[in-house]
Symmetry: C2
Subunit: 431 residues, 2 copies
């Protein structure tokens, strides 16, 4: 069994500069063997601003990958909000504090009215973990349905339904996987629904009551599948008919990235029972959450409690509020729509046989790398590493590792698309 | 089934001032029913400094409860470190960055040499969750042994061995509980070892291989049990003999609070296989971690990876480093030893029959409330709420809810002990 992570650094494969070799050695010594770096030659970063990241020599890297700093690295409005609240109080939710409530109200105003509660955690993993706890309590079921290369988090119970963690991390006996909604294998509205129904049937046949269907609404780790919008509806109806709930994992597509809507599920015209949020929510500050319909938590909340020491603390709330200010105030969703479309068009316009399908919603793009039309993970890795030499950061994804994963900060512009395309062309020419 | 949380606010029991009534209504509307406030009349806080917290009217509350802001609320050195790094970069551990390594090295220098790796998470729950994942991989076992009213966290798999969450949160079939090491029930070195051995035997009899014994080394939620130091040794030997691991949960006692040592396990003369850290690690910034012996992660790390997006990010590392600066530079462990002893002596000196045993290590104190020598949770609640009226913050703990839980920021002084004692006397006089 090997860890299937694409774009992982392999110690010893390349001779590193002395500073970086020392950092790698220190990492292995103190962080141990479970940590992974990106790239054949890892990137050493010391500073960030907007869409640019800088190494110790001052070289600028175009960040076309990091979806946490969605408002741009080190956004001054967000930094100021964090510092101001941290200087006053970082209290938790067992005392009264206005900020967490004001933030919750503002956040919920961007959701359909059915989704009117929010619970705060620190990470997307914790949000999905809480979702599963609540779903089990609400449905009395245990069964979980996910896509074949899904990633939903790293807690013990969430890792059990995150097949992208690889064969050394076993799936739970109560977990069933379904193929990703790839339009080339038939209309996803039909095929995805059929696969989910088959998974439901298989759970029932094994005496396992279905609890949830959970999907990343842009299917990031499966290789990015966004079209045609609306294809989720049949699968959502099927899980509900079986007594289960639908969870939209918006940790990656959320907060405007998908361009057409604030949340990926809105593109599909469905209203989830729960929605998990994370990565870009604090632009780097650890804050995440779970938005939910009241029925899901009603019984749990009457008998049990949820408390997360740092979740929803006053600094997290103030920071997340400033992120919303920027997402709305700077029109980042509209920018993702516009620049994302330009980005996809530019990639499609390259006209190189090694580049396959471009799949995209807003500023979340998947670009296949193929040889004779077949997935080519090795070539994808060469492109990822070639771009790293050109000082452009991306990575690869998908069960075969052959899909370039492109998801820059949402302040990305047409000019940045031009820089990316020019450097990609240079990499392709050299190969 | 009811939620057994001591000191929980009950809506409608008391008429609240209008501002606070509105905040409570907004909380119920947006956060839903699983959140709990403290106190009959919740406390509304807007500012903190050192050991003092302030309400909107500017009234000062003596914080004798919050162990997160262990260096004191809003410590300027820590705020400055957070802001400085946040203004540069909040990168994650898949790029090279010096700060997380420097912090890891400094942190590990405070542990016995066997404990030479650290993995970073955002919360203590995530740290204990990771510990269980690693323990299962390393031992091939599933069985977990905890104390009867233990609290280790809120992820699905950790909640399964956190009995203090109450009867509505079921324990796992692979979980066994043992009585807390109460010296009044016999020498804990003998009784605790015997109980753990009995739990091991019971797991084996059910065909469940023991994976871990995990204890909060000050047994906070069981009611605070610290003496005689050393009593853990037999139990640790027993779990190891059964092929399991010993995890010290230092989320509450760690970072000098126990006075005699940086970590609670050191008081007992044992070296754990893993040590989980959390709450005070970032003085309010969400950062936590798991310190471990290499053998525990060796096989897991060869086949699988661990990545936590915000865990060990540059800002978390810089903040946690500043916390270490303060803990060491301001001598907070020595202060906890000295002031904790004065605090215990002052409480013992009150000489009121309603106050029972004082159990203490450093600035973690448990004070029993009794009537005719028997646990009296109702009276403990009256004292907690009486102190709240006197503007002193504490809470209650233990399976019977009758133990006053006293764990102030570690910058607490003898003068603060005097204020506490004086106000406690006023409360007792009025009752």
């Amino acid at each position: 069994m090997r860890d299937p992570m694409p774009n992982a650094f392999v110690a010893g494969a390349v001779t590193l500069p002395e500073t970086e070799a020392q950092l790698v050695a220190r990492r292995q010594r103190v962080l141990g063997p479970a940590y992974r770096l990106f790239y054949e030659t890892p990137v050493h970063l010391v500073r960030g601003e907007g869409v640019w990241l800088y190494d110790p020599e001052g070289n600028a890297y175009l960040d076309t990958y990091n979806n946490v700093a969605s408002c741009g690295h080190c956004h001054p409005h967000i930094l100021a909000a964090t510092a101001a609240q941290a200087g006053k109080l970082a209290s938790h939710t067992r005392y009264l504090h206005d900020t967490v409530l004001t933030y919750a109200e503002r956040l919920l105003s961007h959701f359909p009215p059915e989704l009117c509660h929010v619970m705060f955690t620190c990470t997307g993993s914790e949000a999905n973990d809480l979702a599963i706890r609540l779903a089990r309590a609400a449905t009395g079921g245990m069964g979980v349905i996910v896509t074949e290369n899904a990633y939903h988090g790293v807690t013990a119970s969430v890792a059990e339904f995150s097949p992208s963690l690889g064969p050394a991390v076993p799936l739970g006996g109560h977990v069933r996987t379904v193929p990703a909604p790839d339009a080339r294998a038939g209309d996803p509205a039909v095929t995805f629904t059929a696969h989910v129904q088959a998974a439901i049937d298989d759970l029932l046949r094994h005496g396992i009551k279905p609890a949830v269907l959970i999907v990343d609404t842009i299917f990031s780790s499966d290789g990015v599948f966004a079209e045609p919008a609306g294809f989720l509806q049949g699968a959502v109806a099927a899980i509900r008919k079986a007594g289960g709930l639908f969870i939209a994992d918006e940790v990656q597509p959320g907060f405007g990235r998908s361009g057409e809507a604030m949340w990926g599920f809105q593109r599909h015209g469905v209203v989830p029972d729960m929605v998990s949020l994370g990565k870009p929510m604090g632009n780097g500050y650890p804050v995440a959450g779970l938005v939910l319909q009241p029925k899901v938590v009603e019984e749990f909340g009457a008998k049990a409690r949820y408390f997360n020491t740092f979740g929803g603390n006053a600094v997290a709330a103030a920071t997340a509020m400033a992120v919303l200010d920027v997402v709305i105030g700077e029109g980042l969703q509209a920018n993702a729509l516009k620049v994302g479309a330009e980005f996809a068009a530019a990639l499609r316009g390259i006209g190189d046989a090694r580049l396959g399908e471009v799949r995209q919603a807003g500023l979340f793009l998947g670009l296949e790398v193929v040889t004779d039309g077949q997935p080519d993970a090795a070539m994808a890795a060469r492109i990822v590493n070639g771009l790293r030499e050109e000082r452009v950061l991306i990575s690869a994804t998908g069960p075969k590792g052959h899909v370039l994963k492109i998801r820059p900060p949402l302040v990305f512009s047409g000019e940045h698309v031009g820089i990316f395309t020019e450097r990609l062309l240079r990499v392709l020419e050299r190969m």
